[in-house]
Amino acid sequence: MLYREAGQFKTSYAADQAIFPILQDRIALALLLVVAYVAVPLLANEYWLSTILVPFLCYALAALGLNLLTGYAGQVSLGTGGFMAVGAFAAYKLSTAFPGLHIVLVLLAAGLIAAATGILFGIPSLRIKGLYLAVATLASQFFLIWLFNRVPWFNNYSSSGVISAPPRAVFAHVFVTGPEAQPVGKYLFALTVVILLALGAKNMVRAATGRAWMAIRDMDIAAEIMGIRPLRTKLLAFAVSSFYIGIAGALWAFVYTGSVEPLAFDIDRSFQILFMIIIGGLGSILGSFLGAAFIVLLPILLLNVPGMLGLRIDVSTVTNLQSIIFGSLIVFFLIAEPNGLARLWQIGKEKLRLWPFPY
């Protein structure tokens, strides 16, 4: 009853092409933004901000990037961690080599460097696809991590191989990286970056670029016959996706952890992000966020449930149980809803439209 678009007529092209054509969606989104920008910084404590929300935003951005590549353009990639590392190390090198460079420019440049790397490792996608491509992208994963581990130039010859983010401010004295940064500032900065990039992604996938990606994904030969150039489209998908993932990696290193070593971006990270988009929903912007939330929150929940129930289990059993439950849930989700949480959300919306009179 509340969620019904009857009577909302579109009288201009602009209204027809709006991202959220339904009024209720716009209200919900505005509310969500108010909650994210006002309520959360006021209410959330430091633990929530810096160990749950900021990593969630980094994960969501990386998942978004991978979803553009895998969900929209249909190119499976297991190299996400490697590209995140490129973003992180590029941001580090840039900000230490040019101390005057603004943090936003550093992030953008790091994204561009990751994009260039993505194009390079995307070249095999022109000849192979599916699982073969997945293995080919593993090469980038292992090679990049090895590179950052072994070549001391990347971590400015630090003996531990760990890079630490130098303090940087967005505006004067509002630090978002380094020891002086407040969790609230970090959170708001990451939130703004993620929202702007998500907006960009949403617009990209509904425009010609995204349609070309989806055409390639659904049937590459047909797409080619319709005049979509596979070379350009696929490499563009790799570039844009790596751009997003690179910025996610830079945010991870600079805003979330503050100091990071290449191992933080190893193969497990790639799998984790792939999980997010599968569970969230392939080919859905919203799905990337839902999947990231699921994967970030589930382990925390599993870790705290025994304590809440008053059971005393030792830590190693908890981690093992956690991996068992996590694995079973993945299988369960794939069986119950192979199209992910985003699809559940869609079904929910359909139901809501008819509620309370389903006929």
Partner: protein, 311 residues
């Protein structure tokens, strides 16, 4: 200049100067490649019969080895432990078929792949919960120590491992070629629908292939385990098996073996002769790079079915 020399002429000069050492490295690489072959073999068996890219193969190796070691530590005789582990792996095959494969039939390849990653999480947790997460040493009395063959020296253990792998492959080949079930397996691998229409039960076949690759995993697990100790890093072997599959082709049993040997040899030679110039540990990615280059020229692998579609 110095770097260029170190990665181009230097290693070659080194090889020419001491061909005996090169041969030794080569043989060592081939023998360690046998291990990759064993893991890759498990992948190929399942992929051929069910089209599932079984990411859990590496964890199955770990799980089988953990169960085996755990049973031996309970003072069971080796043959009984092996038998019981086999029973556990067969039970696992039944459970996987019933709970995972059957509900997911007809789903996209990537969904099945993800499901096997889920399985690998479950097995990882289960194995470590049952048998503990420490490194177990496994000693079933395999010979070890160097053996001289003219100028080159090889480890007896590697030789035994290679023999065991050879025996396993031969048994599997006979099983595939000579038995009724083997024929059914090959029929399913060729064409699911045709196999169904002549009355072969797909479900039964799936259980059989998963149990068979459980057996292969057990052999691989015993071999790796007695060499390096039964530990968590065994699952990483699965990732190394992926380039092996690319080289050999996803659907070819001989391909898995040859691919494993090539990867093992290239990795060792690269590490020993080219590694020092590039900062070491290049075997982490050399196999993948090899696969990547290979894919560009021959996407179907050495023995794989030719992929007609190309874009």
């Amino acid at each position: 200049m110095q770097f260029l020399y170190a990665i181009t002429i230097g290693p070659v000069a080194q090889i020419v100067a001491d061909p005996g050492f090169f041969l030794e490295v080569l043989v060592g690489g081939l023998l360690s490649g046998v291990m990759y072959s064993l893991v890759a073999l498990g992948f190929v068996l399942i992929y051929k019969a069910s089209g599932v890219f079984n990411f859990a193969q590496g964890t199955m190796v770990l799980f089988a080895a953990l169960t085996f070691v755990g049973l031996i530590e309970l003072k069971l005789p080796i043959w009984l432990a092996a038998l019981l582990t086999m029973a556990v792996m067969t039970a696992l095959a039944f459970v996987v078929e019933r709970l995972v494969l059957r509900p997911l039939v007809n789903q996209a390849e990537i969904i099945l792949f993800m499901a096997t990653i889920g399985i690998s999480f479950v097995l990882e947790g289960l194995g470590q919960m049952l048998w503990g997460g420490d490194v177990h040493t496994l000693d079933i009395g395999l010979p070890s120590g160097p053996l001289k063959f003219g100028p080159i020296e090889i480890n007896k253990f590697d030789l035994v491992a290679a023999l065991a792998a050879g025996l396993l492959v031969a048994t599997l080949a006979v099983f595939f070629q000579r038995t009724r079930i083997g024929r059914a397996l090959r029929a399913v691998a060729d064409d699911h629908q045709a196999a169904l229409s002549v009355g072969i039960s797909l479900k039964q076949i799936w259980v059989i292939v998963w149990a068979t690759s459980g057996l292969v995993a057990l052999v691989a697990g015993i071999m790796w385990g007695s060499n390096l100790g039964v530990q968590f890093s065994l699952t990483l072997v699965a990732l190394k098996a992926l380039p092996v599959l690319i080289l050999g082709g996803l659907t070819s049993v001989p391909g898995a073996i040859v691919g494993g040997l090539i990867v093992g040899a290239v990795e060792k030679i690269g590490e020993v002769f080219w590694g020092p110039a590039m900062g070491g540990a290049i075997e982490d990615w050399l196999a993948y790079m090899l696969a990547l280059v290979f894919l560009l020229f021959r996407p179907q692998g050495l023995f794989g079915e030719r992929i007609i579609e190309r874009v």
